[in-house]
C-alpha cells in the first residue's frame, strides 16, 4: 500500500517526503567518530545511517603488486539495521555493496598505494569496513561517501621497526589520498529518473546505475543493478546527472 503510494507520487514527479525527484535527503557527515580506528566517518543520509571505520594493519603485498599497499573493503549488513537482514554469512547484497565501494576507491587511484610500503617485505593493509546502522535506502551512495570521508581522515601509525609492531595512537603521517571519488546511484522508476531513494521507494525501482565520479570528472566505476533493463540512449544522460550531483556531494568533504 505505502509502497504503491510512493510509486504513484513518483509518477507525478513528487515524493513522500516532499523532495524533488533529483534531490538528495539532508546529509550529516561526521569524521573521527571511532576512537579505535585510524580513520572513520558517520554518514546520515535522511534516516540511512552508516559508520565506516578504517584500520591500518601490516601485511604482505600481492605477488602481482609488489611495492604497493593493499586495500580491502568489507561491508556488514548487521541484522540490527533492518527487519529484513539476518545473521549468517555475508549476503550477495552486502558483497556487492562492498565490491562496488571497493572499486570506486581502487579504480579512482585515490590512495597513492606506492607510498604504503613499510619495508622490503611489509606494506600497509588499509581495511575499510562499512557498518550499516540503519537501512532507509541508498546504502551504496551513503557507504561510498562514508568510505572516502573516512579515508581522508585516516592517519598512519608509527611502526616500531625493531619489534615490527604497530604503535597505535602515535601517528606519523596522513594516508595519502590524492583523489576524491563520489558515488551517485541514478535510479529509473518507470520513465522517471530518481536520486537517493528511501527504502520504501526502492521497492519501486526498475533499475539503477551506481556511478563513481572523480573530481576531474573521470568516471571510475559503474554498476547497473535491478531486474529491468535501461535503454542504451538514456545512459549518457544518467552519467551527466551523476557528474553534476557528485560535485554537490563532494563539497561535504571539504
Amino acid at each position: 500500500m505505502q509502497e504503491k503510494y510512493a510509486l504513484e507520487l513518483i509518477n507525478k514527479g513528487m515524493r513522500v517526503d516532499g523532495r524533488k525527484l533529483l534531490e538528495f535527503r539532508e546529509i550529516e557527515l561526521k569524521t573521527n567518530v571511532i576512537n579505535k580506528a585510524e580513520g572513520s566517518a558517520y554518514v546520515k543520509m535522511g534516516e540511512t545511517q552508516v559508520i565506516v571505520g578504517v584500520k591500518m594493519n601490516m601485511g604482505t603485498p600481492y605477488a602481482d603488486s609488489m611495492g604497493e599497499g593493499v586495500l580491502m573493503c568489507g561491508a556488514e549488513f548487521t541484522p540490527m539495521s533492518s527487519p529484513d537482514f539476518e545473521s549468517g554469512p555475508p549476503s550477495p547484497e552486502s558483497i556487492e555493496l562492498a565490491r562496488v565501494v571497493d572499486r570506486g576507491i581502487r579504480e579512482s587511484h585515490c590512495i597513492d598505494v606506492g607510498k604504503l610500503v613499510i619495508d622490503e617485505k611489509n606494506v600497509w593493509v588499509v581495511n575499510v569496513d562499512i557498518h550499516i546502522i540503519n537501512h532507509d535506502g541508498n546504502l551504496m551512495d551513503a557507504s561510498a561517501l562514508g568510505a572516502i570521508a573516512a579515508l581522508k581522515t585516516t592517519k598512519i601509525p608509527r611502526v616500531d621497526l625493531e619489534k615490527m609492531e604497530i604503535v597505535r595512537n602515535d601517528y606519523v603521517a596522513d594516508l595519502p589520498v590524492v583523489h576524491t571519488p563520489i558515488n551517485v546511484s541514478v535510479c529509473k522508476v518507470g520513465s522517471n529518473v530518481v536520486l537517493d531513494p528511501t527504502k520504501l521507494e526502492e521497492g519501486s525501482i526498475d533499475s539503477r546505475i551506481s556511478i563513481s565520479v572523480r573530481e576531474d570528472d573521470k568516471i571510475c566505476a559503474l554498476q547497473k543493478q535491478g531486474s529491468k533493463g535501461i535503454m542504451i540512449g538514456e545512459i549518457p544522460g544518467m552519467m551527466e546527472l551523476a557528474m553534476e550531483k557528485s560535485r554537490e556531494l563532494r563539497k561535504l568533504l571539504e
Binding site: K36, M80, P89, N127, D129, H131, R168, K199
Partner: protein, 241 residues
Amino acid sequence: MGHKSDIKLIVDGKRTDGRTVDQCREVTMEVNVIPAADGSAKVGFGSTVALASVYGPRELFPRFMQESDTGILRTRYNMAPFSVDDRKKPGQDRRSQEISKVMKHALEPVLFLQEFPKVTVDAFAEVIQADGSTRVTGINAVSLALVAAGIPMSHMVTAVSVGKADGELVTDLNGKEDNFGEADMGFAMVHDTGEVTLLQMDGELTLDEIKKLLDMAQTACGQILEKQKKALRDFYVKRGE
C-alpha cells in the same frame, strides 16, 4: 586477566583515567537511534560504545524452529571490525557466541515470553568502540531497546562490570584494567528486586572480595538504572512533542 605488564593501574587512589575506584566512567544513553528497529538505544561507558536494536515480537521462520508453548528471545552480540586496536575479522567467534548466550539469559527473566507462543523477539547488540566492559554496556543498551520496542517487561535489567586492579576493587573496568587487572566480573541485575541475571568472573578473588564486589555492583547498578530511566523519560517526552 593478568597479562604480564609493568603498567601501574592505580596511582595515589586514582585510576589510569583519573577515576576513583568505585566511580563509573561517563555514562551516555540515548533511546531510539535506529528508526528501522522496533526499539533501539545507544549506550556509552567512557569510550566503550554499544548500539542495540530490537525487532519483534514477530513470527519465526522456518516454522520448524518455532516453540509451540512459548516465545523465544534470540540475542546476538557482535563487535564491529574497527572497534578494537587490531581489526576483528567480521562474523561470530566463540567469544561472541558465548556472550550472546549469557546476554540472552541476562534478559529472559524480565520478559513474559510464555505469553507469545511461536514468536521471536530478536535483540542485537553491536559494539562500535571497545574499551572494556563491552558486554555489560551491550546489555544496558538492549534493555533500553526492549522497553522502547514495547516488549512487555516486568523490570529493567541493569548491568555493570566490577573487578580488581592493582590490588584494589574497582567499578566499571576500562580496557587496560580488563587486560592487565587481577579479576573482571560481568554483572547484571534487576535492581528493583535484587535478582542477579548475569554473573561471570575470571581472575583470582577471595570470598570476601566477591562479597564486596557484589555490593559495589549493586550500588553502581542503582546509579545506572537512574540514567536508564532518564533516557527513557527523555525519549517519551521527545516522542510526545
